[in-house]
């Protein structure tokens, strides 16, 4: 696993933790500890994305992340079902 794959994996772990809290909050909407954790994970994720962009260029995961430039960068990275997705 290269550095890019390691960093992506860390971001995805936080995405997962965030999503797990979404489901928990659906049935516990008044749980303040869960809201606190959600804020903490969001901040950690933002930091990791900043680090990713400093080292590897724009972090593109949704269509809204694609920068307006000379070419359509949505197509530049491997697809999630490709075996080189994490490294690419």
């Amino acid at each position: 696993m290269n550095d890019k794959a390691k960093l992506k994996r860390q971001i995805y772990e936080l995405d997962f933790a965030f999503y797990e809290l979404v489901l928990f909050l659906d049935s516990h909407p008044a749980n303040r500890r869960a809201m606190e954790l959600m804020r903490e994970y969001r901040e950690k994720r933002e930091k990791l994305i900043k680090e990713y962009e400093e080292r590897f260029g724009k972090y593109i995961v949704t269509l809204k992340d694609v920068p307006m430039s000379d070419s359509w960068q949505w197509l530049d990275s491997p697809w999630p079902w490709d075996t080189d997705f994490m490294e690419g």
């Binding site: 995805y12 489901l23 928990f24 659906d26 049935s27 516990h28 949704t62 079902w81 075996t83 994490m86």
Partner: protein, 205 residues
């Protein structure tokens, strides 16, 4: 509406293609207790649910099931790449191959194509939530069975992740059922038609 995220919820990277495994794993795409059934079941049942917590849960779990469907498809895709005609013939993959080549088509392990008869939207909050609880257990058992038959760690890790999600979803749906029954009339012992009853969640005079 939905927004695509160009990633898997849990990464899938399988070094060794194996069409035998692909033929059993595909059931979690297009089989009775697979991820396509789960996603459509929950996203379809949302509309008749009376309570916000349950509408939110069906939306968010239904969305996650779409991501699980994508993981299963990625596994089937990677397990069936670069096959020789000999491997196709020897592994029993030929009947699938003649119809779909290397495409990923929603069928059960038995070859039966996906059908909407696997799911129900009864329009009754209690009835639908019981189906959802059973569905999570059925999917969990299917993952247990796959894990009994597969010995490649590249496949076992994502399958273990997906199995754990069934357990968490079962937990959340249990809470949804409790939230719903807590708001029923206390004299409604058998929890009849709370989705249809205009007095749902309110005390009768």
């Amino acid at each position: 509406m939905w927004q695509y995220e160009k990633k898997l919820q849990y990464p899938v990277k399988i070094k060794n293609p194996n069409p035998k495994y692909a033929q059993i794993i595909i059931t979690q795409y297009g089989g009775p207790d697979g991820e396509a059934s789960a996603a459509l079941r929950y996203l379809t049942q949302r509309y008749s649910q009376p309570y916000n917590e349950v509408k939110g849960m069906l939306t968010d779990i239904g969305t996650e099931e779409l991501a699980h469907m994508e993981m299963i498809c990625a596994m089937v895709h990677q397990l069936t790449r670069n096959l020789t005609p000999e491997q196709i013939a020897e592994s029993g993959f030929a009947p699938y191959f003649v119809d779909h080549t290397n495409g990923v088509y929603p069928i059960a392990a038995s070859g039966m194509p996906w059908t909407a008869t696997y799911i129900q939207a009864k329009g009754d909050a209690i009835t639908d939530l019981h189906e959802d609880l059973a569905a999570e257990q059925k999917a969990r058992v299917t993952y247990d069975n796959l894990l009994r038959l597969i010995d490649d760690p590249d496949i076992i890790e994502p399958l273990k992740f997906l199995r754990a999600r069934e357990v968490v979803h079962y937990q959340r749906f249990g809470e949804a059922l409790r939230l719903t029954t807590d708001r029923l009339d206390c004299k409604n012992f058998y929890a009849f038609n709370p989705g249809f009853d205009k007095l749902r969640g309110k005390k009768r005079g």
